[in-house]
């Protein structure tokens, strides 16, 4: 027998065991989550009749109020535009202040935690809070998107900042320029394409989020969506859903084309 075989075979066998343990762990987690989520696929089959009845109620969609729904969808898009824009503006300083290559830990640690908090709370929850502060309507929804998106963008922006090369910034520093000029001329050009792309992506998802803000009083098409569903006017709901699908798909595609130009 070749004397090398045992030394070679040993690591292979070890790796096999590790793989086996890995799969066992994955299966365990999946089973555990299955229980928690109370997954019962059989119900889908048993209640297939109910589903068919419900689905039937959606057809044919009622187009009587189409114009109103389109107006509401436009308000939704307007909410997303301003919610995203304000978030981008605030996320720029916040992301710089949470980047470990720009500021000391006692600045970036608190800033990161603050951004974590903004991100952790869903837009819907923020919308409910802002409805109390500024009343029902699109403004509450815009503010909700603004706060949540700031948290998301600040994290994504600062990850881009931390991945930059230090060289160009040092190049500016040694010309005698100040710290802010160093960031404007040495850092921003490096991260700008990514920042734009991430912001546009966030705008896409904010349109989707904005469609449900109305459910809690945050304005936009969500108001009609909620009302028609609660009133069992499923033909109307179907129209609203179609409007949302068309609007979201169109804007997604437009924003994607725009994003590709920046990468």
């Amino acid at each position: 027998m070749n004397s090398h075989t045992p030394t070679l075979a040993h690591p292979v066998a070890k790796r096999r065991w590790i793989t086996l343990f890995g799969w066992a762990a994955v299966l365990l987690v999946l089973g555990w989550a299955w229980q928690g989520a109370e997954l019962q696929p059989s119900l889908l089959v048993e209640n297939a009749g109910n589903m068919a009845t419900l689905a039937n109620d959606f057809f044919p969609p009622a187009f009587g109020n189409l114009e109103h729904y389109i107006d509401q969808m436009l308000v939704t898009i307007q909410i997303a535009i301003w919610g995203t824009l304000m978030a981008v503006v605030l996320a720029i300083p916040c992301s710089l202040l949470s980047s470990d290559n720009l500021v000391p830990w006692w600045v970036y640690q608190p800033m990161r935690r603050l951004m974590d908090a903004c991100r952790a709370i869903n837009e819907l929850v923020f919308a409910m809070l802002f409805v109390v502060a500024v009343g029902l309507g699109p403004f509450a929804g815009t503010l909700a998107l603004f706060i949540h998106t700031t948290g998301v963008l600040a994290k994504l922006f600062s990850e881009a900042v931390e991945a930059t090369e230090a060289g160009p910034m040092e190049g500016i520093r040694v010309t005698g320029a100040g710290r802010i000029e160093e960031i404007i001329f040495g850092l921003i050009p490096q991260v700008l394409p990514l920042w734009i792309s991430v912001s546009l992506y966030r705008f896409e998802s904010n349109i989707r989020s904005a469609t449900v803000l109305g459910m809690v009083g945050g304005g936009g098409i969500g108001v009609s969506l909620w009302e028609t569903m609660r009133g069992f006017q499923y033909a109307e709901t179907a129209t609203i859903m179609l409007v949302i699908i068309v609007a979201v798909t169109t804007l997604d595609m437009a924003s994607q084309t725009l994003r590709k130009r920046f990468i």
Binding site: G171, T175, G176, I184
Partner: protein, 276 residues
């Protein structure tokens, strides 16, 4: 009698308990063209970075880096200075360190930031005079036709010339070039060295260049300062840096000659010439 441009006293630097520079002392006078040579890892670049405050020395009360009439750092602490003061030293990097996505013109104009009013610097509003100045600098390095191009579309040699143009509009009295030609092909390297030499001769700006190719040091510089394992090994006219001395400088096994000069082919009297 000429003025002192750089004075380094008792400079030591340790990275992770590994000494990179040990008790380095030297002076450079105004208008000199000095090559800083030594094998890789000898501390040349680290020394250069100390001269502009990109790196801080070990805390030692007698350590001092004095450049163009002011302390850059003292006892391992950076001494703050106005933007205009810092403008007086230009720095050229091996990796050029341009902002790749900005135009060549903007990269050169960046050299003016420290001398502009703050609000114009922050907004990047360069005046016609500054633009004309940048164009003149680009002409001097032979790149005036590329002013509108993005910096990252240039070749390495061209990028390095942009970096030199930046130091020119900065009106730097002292230009520190850290391995300016290490990433360049021989022809570009020659062009860059030629330009640096011209700037020194025509404008009288002091120039310190770290090099690992000794031929370039011999061809373009008057004085050599050699580092070996973080210590000053030679300081004197480049002509006296003979092959035998160079061999000892680059010979890894011959470290002991630093401590026992008599056992080496190098005459003890020429070592640390500046200190004597």
């Amino acid at each position: 009698m000429s003025l002192t441009t750089i004075a380094v006293q008792q400079l030591s630097k340790t990275f992770d308990r590994h000494p990179v520079l040990q008790d380095v002392d030297f002076e450079i006078r105004q208008g000199e063209r000095v090559a800083l040579i030594g094998p890789s890892g000898s501390g040349k670049s680290t020394l250069m970075r100390h001269l502009v405050g990109l790196t801080r020395a070990n805390r030692h009360h007698r350590c001092c880096v004095h450049v163009l009439g002011r302390d850059i750092q003292r006892g391992g602490k950076l001494v703050s200075a106005s933007r205009v003061e810092r403008c007086r030293t230009g720095y050229i990097f091996q990796q050029f360190n341009l902002a790749g996505r900005l135009s060549v013109m903007t990269n050169v104009l960046v050299g003016r930031l420290g001398r502009m009013p703050r609000w114009r610097a922050l907004l990047g509003r360069f005046s016609a005079v500054e633009r004309a100045m940048a164009l003149r600098a680009l002409k001097r390095v032979g790149l005036e036709d590329l002013a509108g191009q993005r910096a990252n579309t240039l070749s390495g040699g061209q990028m390095q010339r942009v970096a030199i143009a930046r130091a020119l509009v900065q009106e730097a009295e002292l230009i520190l070039a850290d391995e300016p030609i290490a990433s360049l092909d021989p022809r570009s390297a020659q062009e860059v060295m030629e330009i640096l030499k011209r700037i020194n001769e025509e404008d009288g700006r002091t120039i310190v260049i770290t090099l690992h190719q000794v031929e370039y040091a011999r061809g373009y510089c008057q004085r050599a300062i050699a580092l070996k394992q973080g210590r000053l090994y030679y300081d004197g006219p480049i002509a006296e840096l003979t092959d035998a001395r160079l061999q000892a400088l680059y010979d890894n096994a011959g470290l002991n000659e630093l401590y026992q000069p008599t056992t080496t082919p190098v005459k003890p009297a020429t070592l640390h010439a500046a200190a004597g």
